[in-house]
């Protein structure tokens, strides 16, 4: 059972993700961040709810839209921000950037730029855990788009037949770039796919962090008991463009507004108020988060960049 303390911590983490993303976007606009990235704004409840159901020593695999997963698994936003700013103090020494952040000590086996490629890795990590009999579970985040890769099919089937300790969390944010799930699937619910693999599948409200937690908890326990994988489809929405170069000609402003009215942070805020949490407490959490992010930005800006010699040493172990 989640305590009120836990729920406040969930709130803090969701707000931390939101603030991280919004400030990162500003830094990009100011020309301080290079390349491109994919923002998680609007989807915070999925990562936070799902990771709350994990033990600290469990694993996750992440995606190109990975900042939220990383924070939810307990990453230090200083080192994340430093990575986005391509600094030596970043999680990947500035060599990976946004799309490749990994925080292996905290069990985050990494983001990936190849859509779908985390699914076989999660499956393999679960196989490794099973072979080591270490009682750990792997939680695999991937998008609706990734569910249409060949990698998805081969991995979910293998996980199912080997009864691996893995939980597949499909973040259905309604689009893969411009391609709507309505066009990409001939099924109403992606979770129906689970039946074809002989594993349980559920489709839930990914903007409800509590439901996200409860559902994942059951799946994680099942995996830990050796009963095999579960497929969770978390329905949510990406508020921002796909990446930094998206004109969003494929969706209407009304649709975006409608989803923004189902803000997962507002949802939890409302719940907490009903639980008699005072405004001041919520405000304090927010202020602390904002201070943490500013501190992270300063840390990143003051950090050195990696050198070529250092990069050369990274090619082989």
């Amino acid at each position: 059972m989640l305590s009120l303390e836990d729920k406040l911590d969930m709130y803090r983490k969701m707000y931390l993700i939101r603030t991280f993303e919004e400030r990162a976007e500003e830094l990009y606009m100011e020309g301080k961040i290079w390349g491109t990235f994919h923002l998680y704004v609007g989807e915070e409840a999925v990562a936070v709810g799902a990771c709350y159901a994990l033990r600290a020593d469990d694993y996750i695999t992440s995606t190109h839209r990975g900042h939220g997963h990383c924070i939810a698994k307990g990453a230090d936003v200083k080192r994340m921000m430093a990575e986005l700013l391509a600094r030596d103090t970043g999680y990947c020494h500035g060599l990976g950037g946004s799309m490749h952040i990994a925080d292996v000590e905290k069990g985050n086996l990494g983001a990936t730029g190849i859509v779908g490629s985390g699914i076989p890795i999660a499956t393999g990590a679960a196989l490794g855990c099973k072979l080591q009999n270490n009682d750990k579970v792997v939680l695999c985040f991937f998008g609706d788009g990734a569910a249409n890769t060949g990698a998805f099919h081969e991995s979910v089937n293998m996980a199912a037949i080997f009864r691996l300790p893995v939980v597949f969390v499909c973040e259905n944010n309604m689009y893969a770039m411009s391609f709507s799930v309505k066009k990409a699937f001939a099924l109403p619910d992606i979770a129906e796919r689970a039946k074809g693999y002989g594993i349980p599948g559920v489709s839930i409200d990914g903007n409800n962090v509590l439901e996200m937690y409860e559902t994942t908890k059951v799946a994680v326990e099942r995996a830990r008991q050796g009963e095999g994988p579960t497929f969770i489809e978390a329905r949510t929405y990406r508020w921002k463009g796909h990446s930094k170069s998206d004109r969003q000609s494929y969706r209407t402003k009304e649709e975006v507004r409608e989803w923004m009215s189902k803000d997962p942070i507002k949802f939890l805020e409302k719940y907490l108020r009903e639980e008699k949490v005072g405004e001041e407490e919520l405000e304090n959490i927010k202020k602390q988060v904002e201070r943490d992010i500013e501190e992270a930005i300063n840390f990143a800006l003051e950090s050195p960049e990696p050198t070529l010699e250092e990069a050369r040493r990274m090619v082989y172990a």
Binding site: W34, G35, T36, E83, A86, C92, G94, L95, G96, G97, S98, M99, H100, T112, G113, I114, V115, G116, G145, A146, N148, T149, G150, A151, A176, M177, S178, F179, K183, A184, S249, Y250, E305, P306, L308, A311, R312, M314, V315
Partner: protein
């Protein structure tokens, strides 16, 4: 009439449009090529013009995109598949390397696979390890595939038109940093044959052989070198396979010094093939060993300074040519 200047991306779009108008068998498939217009805007407006039957948005399914193109080609269509980033070619590679490339041969000439796979390659955009690859050397290694990597708007249009007309699978390498570059392209229709190099600048002191983004860099380097009295010739091979060795030979016989420049890691990259060929066939004409200027032996790093450092730049070409000539 004076020539128009259009971008590399526009030139590609014109080639596709002209061939689609001419031949109902030509169609496009790929991710986000419809209303989104392609990740780099190449297919913008084509869905409006030709409709979703001929400009087909697919799910994220590279195996089925390349394999789908192969199958459609086998039964008489002329597909143009777009792979959003060259790095993702690896996913569809079974279909390209084991199927498309070998079908004509393995079926004893009874079937052919006229298709094009286009993809943006190269680093320089801060896209890091999974979106910056230059894997053209891998595909140039495969008999049965043709590999083309144009450096200008003019070449891009003429070569893409030939690739679409070709009866073999053609891998079309588009460097991301070239999409917005402009060049003269006539209004009149033209084709550039696959497998023909072009001397982009004549010179007498050394030959620089390259393709794609390295050509504009070599041309810039030639201006700097000219100020120091060094006159280089720049050979743009344009096609990696088949390779126009005649043009390379003519140039090297004249200058007696050769440098090959390419973006992928130096070890085992396509430039190594050119270098080996020049060393074998033109040994008697060489006043110095062939220089290979390639990329660093590492995946593309995210940090912008490092990203720049690991790929040959104008100053690297200048430095290596001075050593070669000096």
């Amino acid at each position: 009439m004076p020539n128009r200047e259009i971008t590399y991306a526009e030139a590609l779009r014109e080639a596709i449009r002209e061939e689609m108008k001419k031949d109902p068998k030509v169609f496009l498939l790929g991710e986000d090529i419809g209303i989104y217009g392609g990740s780099f805007g190449v297919t913008q407006g084509l869905i409006e013009e030709f409709g979703p039957e001929r400009v087909i948005d697919t799910p994220i399914s590279e195996i089925a995109i390349i394999g789908g193109a192969t199958g459609a080609a086998l039964v008489g269509m002329r597909p143009i598949a777009e792979i959003m980033f060259f790095d993702f070619m690896t996913i569809g590679s079974d279909q390209l390397v084991n199927q498309a490339a070998k079908i004509h041969f393995m079926f004893g000439g009874k079937a052919k696979v006229p298709m094009v796979v286009r993809a943006p390659a190269g680093s320089g955009t801060g896209a890091a390890g999974h979106h910056s690859g230059s894997l053209e050397s891998w595909f140039a290694h495969v008999p049965g595939l043709k590999v083309v990597a144009p450096s200008t708007s003019y070449d891009a249009k003429g070569l893409l038109k030939s690739a679409i007309r070709d009866d073999n699978p053609v891998v079309f390498v588009e460097h991301k940093l070239l999409y917005k570059t402009k060049g003269q392209v006539p209004e009149e229709e033209y084709y550039i044959p696959i497998g023909k190099a072009e001397i982009k600048k004549e010179g007498k002191d050394a030959t620089v052989i390259g393709y794609s983004i390295m050509i504009p860099r070599a041309l810039e380097a030639s201006k700097i070198l000219a100020q120091e009295g060094i006159d280089i010739e720049v050979v743009d091979i344009r096609s990696l396979r088949p390779l126009d060795t005649d043009t390379i030979a003519r140039s090297v016989k004249k200058t007696n010094r050769a440098m090959v420049v390419y973006e992928p890691p130096r070890f085992g990259g396509f430039g190594a093939e050119i270098s080996a060929w020049v060393g074998e066939e033109l040994f008697d004409y060489l006043d110095a060993p062939v220089v290979r200027l390639g990329g660093e032996e590492m995946p593309p790093p995210y940090n912008p300074n490092l990203e720049r450092k690991i790929v040959p730049q104008i100053e690297d070409i200048v430095r290596e040519i001075k050593k070669l000539v000096g």
